[in-house]
């Protein structure tokens, strides 16, 4: 059987389990394994319980598993909460200064830290070193990764790691796979990179979990990326400044979660009316309202599809992992500019803050595509009536251009109109543009298929749910249908892919079946549904179980 390890490291917030998890993942990455990391934490800064779950596998992985092979505990809670999920051969490695346990491998972490004059914050280093020795990782590999990942007190950290490493016994020997390591990216990092790749100039934001990672990452790298990053006083300022920046000719993006997005909806409508391109990243969390702020969900779909008053379309794309987030964030930025339209990249906590392996080939698939620019002939008119409904762009500051945009209905010059005929003319222009947007969708891979493409049983899901569902589909040899584009709806592609499907089951992380309702609009009626709405992500084992039940019950 192929190797497929599941490792959980947990402790209190502030004990560094997330960082330790990443280091462990990078060690496995270095050995050629495929990686996925799930990070689970509460809305607090110290204490409570947080954990990272690392999957390291010979095959590609897109989700963590329920079952755990190695349980690494910085505290007691970790053991209490998770030992149920330990496999029969599973190993517990723990801080024996904090945890009383008869079994497993105890490491007297506090004692060691104290001896070496380390601080208790280095317990995570100690624990991971013990674990890595247990599974037979070469010290050199560990040292290399630690040196890369730890920028404070590396000498002391190495000393502690070394000591624990020496005092721990090797129990098994994880084999190296002959493959080169791949970059590990969170969804937020991937979105950032994709947007930058497609020419992002300015990122404007107001912090909100789980989108804050984009702000942090872009701010940290703003010089590398040759961009500007601004944190403004609230989301209303953010979106209005970003739209105005795009009017000025700069590619702008904003990022937020549902509550912040709500505050942006008036300006979303402005972008629709004024035909200004803007990319909004909406990373969902459990709602409604403040909900369960550090956990995931897929319950903002209806909102994203209909947000903003008045008749206008927007692109709504829902990628499912870091690779798709990279690619579609970039493409969406390109498309926003091509069609001078607002766009929403709808992701969630599970994508934003989970860590995926990046397919470097995507780099060359994505580039910055120029928008339709004014040809400098005649008088410039911002809203020139054209066949496809797209008016060439010209920006303030350029010679011979007076560019007037307007939140009111307007004529070709951008001047306010109230006359019914002029109103209709401009509505018709935009309708033609919406038609062009629909045509564009037909040309791209708006729907993806996984699993057994010929199966008569299919599951349909979107966004982060695709990860665990893909594994399940492969296991059960059924078909998985994933609409990536949700507005304009890829009706033709979807129906093509539904041909031959006799039983369709929808899977979503919300309680109202939001995608299902959308499917219904196009006459697609799943026979069954699996909904999860306890704020936690789907797991492949549980999905497999549920699907088996459904299939066997009929």
């Amino acid at each position: 059987m192929k190797k497929d390890y599941s490792i959980l490291i947990g402790g209190e917030a502030g004990q560094g389990s997330r960082k330790a998890g990443l280091i462990i993942a990078k060690v496995f990455n270095d050995l050629g394994y495929r990686i996925f990391i799930y990070d689970d934490y509460q809305s607090l800064v110290r204490g409570g319980h947080s954990f990272s779950q690392i999957r390291a596998s010979e095959d590609n992985v897109f989700s963590h598993r329920k079952k755990i092979d190695f349980l690494l505990a910085l505290d007691d809670k970790t053991i209490k909460k998770h030992r149920n999920n330990l496999t029969s051969k599973g190993i517990i490695i723990y801080n024996s200064d904090k945890v009383q346990l008869k079994e497993g491998i105890g490491i007297p972490i506090e004692t060691i830290c104290r001896e070496l004059k380390g601080i208790s914050l280095m317990a995570n280093t100690a624990l991971l070193a013990g674990f890595l020795k247990t599974i037979g990782i070469d010290w050199k590999v560990l040292e290399k990764i630690l040196r890369r990942e730890i920028d404070k007190e590396i000498v002391l950290n190495l000393k502690i790691a070394r000591k624990v490493y020496q005092e721990t016994n090797e129990l098994i020997k994880i084999k190296r796979i002959n493959r080169k390591p791949l970059p590990l990216l969170t969804g937020n990092e991937a979105v950032s990179l994709g947007a930058v790749r497609a020419g992002l100039n300015i990122y404007v934001s107001y912090p909100m979990t789980p989108a804050t990672g984009i702000l942090n990452y872009l701010a940290k790298h703003k010089r590398d990326f040759n961009i500007n990053v601004f944190q403004l006083e609230n989301e209303i300022s953010v979106i209005n400044a970003a739209i105005a920046g795009a009017y000025t000719g700069k590619r702008t993006m904003v990022g937020t979660s549902g509550g912040g997005f709500a505050l942006m909806t008036e300006a979303l409508s402005l972008a629709g009316q004024a035909e200004v391109p803007i990319l909004i990243v909406e990373s969902q969390r459990t709602g409604p309202a403040s909900g369960v702020p550090t956990y995931s969900g897929q319950s903002d779909l209806w909102f994203a599809l209909g947000a903003g008053h008045g008749d206008f379309l927007r692109f709504v794309f829902a990628p499912s992992d870091a690779n798709e987030s990279f690619y579609w964030a970039g493409e969406l930025l390109n498309l926003s500019w091509k069609y001078q339209t607002p766009s929403i990249l709808l992701i969630d906590k599970q994508i934003s803050e989970s860590t995926f392996q990046f397919n470097e080939k995507l780099l060359n698939k994505l580039k910055c595509k120029k928008a339709l620019l004014w040809n400098k002939k005649g008088k410039y008119q911002r809203y020139k009536i054209t066949k496809k409904g797209i008016s060439p762009l010209g920006f303030p500051g350029e010679k011979n251009i007076i560019s007037k945009v307007n939140s009111y209905e307007h004529n070709e010059d951008g001047i306010t109109v109230e006359d019914e005929n002029l109103v209709k003319k401009m509505q018709l222009k935009r309708l033609r543009k919406f038609q062009s947007m629909k045509n564009e969708i037909d040309k791209m891979e708006a729907v993806k298929i996984y699993g057994n493409k010929k199966s008569k049983s299919a599951i349909i899901c979107w966004g982060s749910t695709v990860g665990p569902a893909r594994e399940t589909a492969e296991k059960l040899k059924i078909k998985l249908i994933q609409p990536i584009v949700i507005q304009p709806f890829p009706e033709n592609q979807l129906k093509r892919n539904l041909k031959g499907v006799e039983k369709l089951i929808s899977i979503e992380a919300n309680s109202l079946g939001q995608l299902e309702k959308v499917l219904n609009c196009y006459g697609i009626k799943p026979d069954n549904r699996i909904l999860r709405y306890d704020s936690r992500p789907f797991l492949p084992e549980e999905l497999t179980e549920s699907l088996k039940n459904i299939f066997s019950s009929k």
Partner: protein, 277 residues
């Protein structure tokens, strides 16, 4: 192309104070253009309300934004292209009610934009309701028994928000206003110009202002103490004191702007991805 007028029909009430602001602004721009500021580098921003129509009446780059958002929009334009001269027109309703957060924070940041507030002390376009600067006791359609709120003093607010240029003009003093606007635009930083604007239809304050308004001298502009005193001379309510116009405060501070990024810098994605391994 050099004419500042557009084809739009002007729909302000005859005699409205907005006309004075429009004339003063056009004169200011003409003068700046004559002094070498390229016309295409001006961008005017406005919002919803009688005042907001001004964007339609100016043959300049313009962004007619949402009610209350002109300052947020103006800020976005400036951080996207620092060469541009960005002027935001906004009503008292938009500035001190709906969008007050943008005024305070943009002032605090010292964004290099100029804000011209058409203060007619009411929501005019929605037919006469009270705003943050309506006098106490104001009887509008939503307060038939008179509003019980005392007005804000916008200059005091701008001052508390660290605005680096604070002035007051009067729409009927066109030459004076023109000069204020020029100073505001030339000031490197956040320029706040509150304009007393009579509303012929709902609050005809011409006589009231004519009797009280006087032009201040331009001394000690960087004195906080002097500024504070002058700002408090008129409490923005219906009182009998005099109303100073002119510049109240001006000081130089670092401005808020984006770094100018080299246009064709090649981004080394491989190097960044390497750090993620």
């Amino acid at each position: 192309m050099d004419n500042l007028d557009t084809s739009a029909e002007n729909t302000w009430c005859p005699g409205c104070g907005n006309f004075g602001i429009l004339v003063a602004f056009k004169k200011a721009i003409e003068s700046l253009i004559a002094h070498g500021f390229p016309k295409q580098e001006f961008v005017v921003v406005s919002g919803i309300g009688c005042n907001g129509k001004i964007a339609d009446y100016l043959n300049l780059n313009s962004f007619l934004s949402l009610h209350g958002r002109p300052i947020a929009s103006a800020q976005g334009i400036k951080i996207a292209n620092k060469k541009l001269k960005v002027i935001a027109f906004i009503g008292d309703g938009g500035c001190y009610n709906e969008g007050i957060s943008h005024l305070i924070h943009s002032a605090k940041r010292n964004t290099d934009i100029t804000v011209l507030v058409h203060n007619n002390r009411r929501f005019a376009l929605t037919v006469n309701q009270f705003t943050a600067t309506s006098p106490k006791g104001f009887k509008g359609s939503s307060t038939p028994e008179g509003s019980i709120e005392e007005p804000l003093n916008p200059l005091k607010l701008a001052f508390s928000s660290n605005s680096t240029f604070i002035a007051r003009g009067y729409s009927a003093k066109i030459e004076h206003l023109k000069n204020l606007i020029i100073k505001g635009i030339k000031h490197r930083g956040f320029s706040f110009i509150e304009i007393l604007q009579p509303c012929i239809s709902f609050f005809n304050t011409y006589q009231y202002y004519n009797e009280r308004v006087y032009e201040m001298s331009d001394d000690f502009l960087d004195s906080k103490k002097m500024a504070q005193k002058k700002i408090e001379e008129w409490d923005c309510n219906e009182t009998n004191g005099k109303i100073p116009i002119g510049v109240f405060y001006r000081v130089n501070k670092p401005i808020y702007e984006g770094s100018s990024n080299p246009k064709d810098k090649c981004i080394d994605f491989e190097a960044i991805l390497k750090k993620h391994i």
